[in-house]
Symmetry: C2
Subunit: 270 residues, 2 copies
């Protein structure tokens, strides 16, 4: 696969989890204070060649689940697709508002307008436009969305798949994953007090960890973080380091962007 | 040029002018009452194979003009492009909100995510995705936007150019242009009491009218309507009738969509 080279510095792909910018337990509830704080941190870090991907949290997930959008188009469930896409544009709009009015030249990219999947995996994505935006000094912002699928009619495209796709298609220096926990842990840190956080993992160690943990996603004892890492594995295999940090803690994203020491889990190929 | 055929009925392209859904004299001011009324009319008309295009009004125009976006990318004016695109997504979001919560399966399509222009004219547009949406029973909603341009870097793409492009590329039965005046008049009906409205014009009559009126757009005595028609001429030449109606008057858009008698200007090839 041909990797598209950018001018130095290499691309930084920053993922902001839906659980950070929305109240997961309350449908359609943004966490405006965190959105604004993160916009400040992104502004202050002033990183070149940055791409932001954000998740859906309590905007995308409840609507998509209610209509079972990920299983595809069925006569009569068009409204569910329309609603899922719409609420994601609303969440994206709130995030963009925070960036734009801080004079950050951020451009939202609507996945459903430019990406088609095949059985849930990205099949086509217009890289030329994406590359042009970065070259012109823009900060592209893309997000998990309901998208058209060449086999299923439509489905859900996760932010994590977008992160891995963009990072492996462009000359990417690092991926920063901002979540609502401190890093990848041996158990769910929200419920298990004995949970131990991994500060550094190699690809081999990560794979061993995955094989030790029971297979179905539903019993992922790490609280979903290991499942998330499965989607990001191709990027690590490409040699792109992945840093998982707690985006709810002030200045953690800022420090990660600046390359300063910050608590979290660093995953590297070797 | 190959025309892409859809299942019958043929496509209806409905343009809603920015002057209808925004307060043109007040920056960033939506006319929510008209947005909601139009959403009701669109819901009640229940037309199949409908596409909606809307303009920017006091959202897109003032920001685009402030930064002179239509003349292209210059080092330092990225923020203007970002702001223009952002405010257009905000206006589109308000319009989408009104449609979606009336259970209309409307999908917004972001021009800057899927269209590139060349010197201001549409160069690439993903018709496959657009066609798939219509076939699945969705109502695509697209709008004037700031887009990337292969020669200028970026520029402004008008809703009127989108109307003509979509209508001529698909098997379109009619175009309905919803504006804030009663139709195409011999003078600006907002300022000239003697202005006479044309109820019917052939392509030849329209061209004669254009040649009689002084050339520069800035002295278009019809109040901008004749300039707008220049963009729509290719569609009329394709044999697609264009109906101009006052979208501020209740039920005019509803009647036009239903094919009922309504005051306005009908322009046909012959």
């Amino acid at each position: 696969m041909k990797v598209l080279r950018l001018n130095p510095p290499k691309l930084t792909v920053l993922k902001i989890g839906g659980s950070v910018i929305t109240e997961k337990s309350e449908e359609l509830t943004p966490r405006m204070q965190d959105i604004n704080r993160l916009a400040d941190e992104i502004k202050n870090a002033a990183i070149q060649n940055l791409v932001i991907v954000h998740g859906g949290g309590s905007f995308g997930h409840p609507v998509a689940q209610k209509y079972n959008i990920s299983s595809g188009f069925k006569e009569g469930n068009q409204q569910g697709f329309a609603e899922t896409h719409h609420v994601m544009t609303v969440l994206n709009g709130l995030f963009m508002d925070a960036l734009i009015w801080r004079d950050i030249p951020a451009i939202s990219i609507t996945p459903s307008s430019c990406i088609t999947t095949k059985k849930g995996r990205i099949q086509s994505f217009d890289e030329a436009r994406f590359k042009a935006l970065i070259k012109m000094g823009f900060l592209p912002v893309i997000y998990g969305d309901a998208v058209l699928d060449s086999e299923l009619g439509f489905t859900i495209l996760s932010g994590d798949q977008l992160v891995a796709h963009i990072a492996t298609r462009f000359d990417t220096g690092r991926i920063i994953i901002g979540v609502d926990v401190d890093g990848l842990c041996s158990a769910d840190p929200k419920t298990e007090k004995t949970a131990k956080m991994y500060e550094h993992l190699t690809l081999a160690e990560l794979k061993t960890l995955q094989s030790q943990i029971c297979k179905p996603m539903s019993c992922d004892v790490t609280g979903g973080m290991l499942g998330k890492m499965t989607e990001l594995l191709p990027a690590v295999e490409h040699g792109i380091p992945v840093m998982i940090v707690n985006a709810k803690k002030p200045n953690y994203i800022y420090k990660a962007l600046k390359g300063e020491d910050v608590q979290g889990t660093l995953i590297e190929k070797e």
